[in-house]
C-alpha cells in the first residue's frame, strides 16, 4: 500500500516524520520551503541567505520531529524554529538590530499622528501604483526592528493569528497587536518620507 503523502495534512506528516519516513520530509520540505524563503528574504534582503535559512529550518524540523506534539498547531511549531534560526543569524552576523524598547514603549510622534491627524500620511494609491514601492518596502523592512517585523510578516504573509504569533514569540496577544500596529506605522513613515522626496 502506498501512502499519498502529498495529500496528508502537516500534522499527520509530522507523525510519519517521527517514524523516519523520508517521503514525509520531502513533502513537508516542498510545501513549506517557499513560504520560509519569502519570510527570510523579507527579513534579510538576501536571496542566498534566505535559501540557507529556509533549508536550516526544515533540517531542524526533521531533527526535532520527536518533540512535536500532535495536538500542537504545525505552523506554531515551524515558525518557532524559524524565529530561532533568524535570531541566531542576526546574532552571528553581528548585524545590529535597532532597539525598540521591546516594542511596547510610548508611541512615536508619527504613530501618534496616525491616530490623530492622518491627513499627513502617504496616499495608499501611491503605495499600490508607484514603481519604487517594492524598493522602498524592502529597504524599510530590512531596517525595521526584528521584534516588529517578525509578527507583522507572520500575520500578513502567513495569515497567522495574533494568538499563534504570541505563542511563537512568547508574548501576549495584546503585545502582538501593538507590535503589528507599530510595524504598519513604521512602514507608513518610511513611505511618507520616500514619496515626499520624489
Amino acid at each position: 500500500m502506498r501512502i499519498l503523502y502529498a495529500r496528508l495534512p502537516d500534522e499527520k506528516l509530522m507523525l510519519l516524520l517521527r517514524k523516519g519516513k523520508e517521503g514525509a520530509f520531502d513533502v513537508l520540505f516542498r510545501r513549506h520551503f517557499g513560504k520560509l524563503y519569502g519570510f527570510f528574504l523579507r527579513s534579510t534582503g538576501n536571496r542566498h541567505t534566505a535559501e540557507d535559512l529556509a533549508q536550516e529550518v526544515l533540517v531542524r524540523l526533521f531533527r526535532s520531529a520527536g518533540r512535536y506534539e500532535p495536538t500542537a498547531k504545525f505552523s506554531t511549531f515551524l515558525y518557532t524554529i524559524a524565529r530561532n534560526v533568524l535570531l541566531n543569524y542576526i546574532r552571528d552576523s553581528r548585524k545590529k538590530d535597532p532597539e525598540v524598547d521591546g516594542g511596547e514603549g510610548e508611541l512615536t510622534p508619527f504613530e501618534l499622528s496616525l491616530e490623530t491627524t492622518p491627513s499627513s500620511c502617504p496616499d495608499p494609491s501611491e503605495i499600490l501604483e508607484k514603481k519604487e514601492t517594492l524598493q522602498v518596502l524592502e529597504k524599510a523592512l530590512s531596517e525595521m526592528p526584528e521584534n516588529l517585523r517578525t509578527p507583522f510578516l507572520m500575520a500578513q504573509g502567513e495569515g497567522m493569528s495574533y494568538r499563534e504569533i504570541g505563542e511563537v514569540m512568547g508574548i501576549s496577544e495584546g503585545a502582538v497587536k501593538l507590535r503589528i500596529f507599530r510595524a504598519r506605522a513604521f512602514l507608513a513613515e518610511r513611505f511618507d518620507a520616500a514619496f515626499r522626496e520624489t
Binding site: M1, I3, E22, Q55, F62, Y162, R184
Partner: protein, 170 residues
C-alpha cells in the same frame, strides 16, 4: 479620547480579522462616514498586501535545497530526473501538438474528470485518523500490500460495526 482615535487603534487588528463581531461592526459603521479613518484603513491595507506578498524561490532552488537537506540528514541520494525530464517533456508537448495539428483533433478536447473513487481516496486521506495511519504504516512495514486504501477503510468500518453490535448484544 475622541471616536476617531479610538477607531484608528482598532483598524490594524480589524484588517487582520482579530476583532469580535461587535467591534468589527463598530469599525465598519464609523468607516462608512469618516473619510480620514478610511484613509488610514486603506493605507494599512495597502502596506499589509504589499508586505504579505512574499517572493517565491525558483522551482530549481527548492529541489537543490531539498537535495542538500537530505544529504545533511544522511538520507539516500535520489536519482535526479530533472535534466532528462525537461527535454523529454518539451519533446512530448511538441509531439502532441504536431499530432493534434495533422489529425484534426479539436484543441479543447474532453477533459476526463477524476473518478469518484479517486476523489474519495483523496478526501479520506485528508481526514485520516491517527489509528488508520498507524494501521497503514504497519501494513506497509510488514510488506503486506493490503489492498487499496478504500478497502482498508471498509475493513475498519466493518470492524467498528462488529464491535458496536458486539457491545449491544452484551
Amino acid at each position: 479620547m475622541n471616536r476617531c482615535t479610538e477607531i484608528r487603534r482598532l483598524i490594524s487588528p480589524y484588517l487582520d480579522g482579530e476583532l469580535s463581531r461587535e467591534e468589527s461592526l463598530a469599525v465598519e459603521e464609523h468607516l462608512s462616514r469618516c473619510g480620514e479613518c478610511r484613509k488610514v484603513r486603506d493605507l494599512f491595507r495597502a502596506l499589509g498586501e504589499k508586505a504579505g506578498d512574499l517572493p517565491q524561490p525558483p522551482r530549481e532552488a527548492v529541489e537543490k535545497n531539498l537535495e542538500r537537506a537530505r544529504e545533511r540528514l544522511g538520507m539516500e541520494k535520489k536519482p535526479s530526473l530533472y535534466p532528462f525530464l525537461k527535454p523529454a517533456l518539451a519533446a512530448s508537448v511538441l509531439g502532441l501538438l504536431l499530432v493534434a495539428l495533422y489529425s484534426g483533433i479539436p484543441w479543447k478536447g474532453k477533459v476526463e474528470k477524476p473518478g469518484l473513487r479517486e476523489e474519495t481516496v483523496v478526501s479520506e486521506m485528508e481526514n485520516i485518523s491517527d489509528e488508520e495511519l498507524e494501521l497503514i504504516l504497519l501494513l506497509e512495514e510488514s510488506g503486506d500490500e493490503g489492498g487499496d486504501f478504500l478497502d482498508l477503510l471498509k475493513t475498519l468500518d466493518e470492524l467498528e460495526e462488529l464491535t458496536e453490535s458486539g457491545r449491544k448484544e452484551a
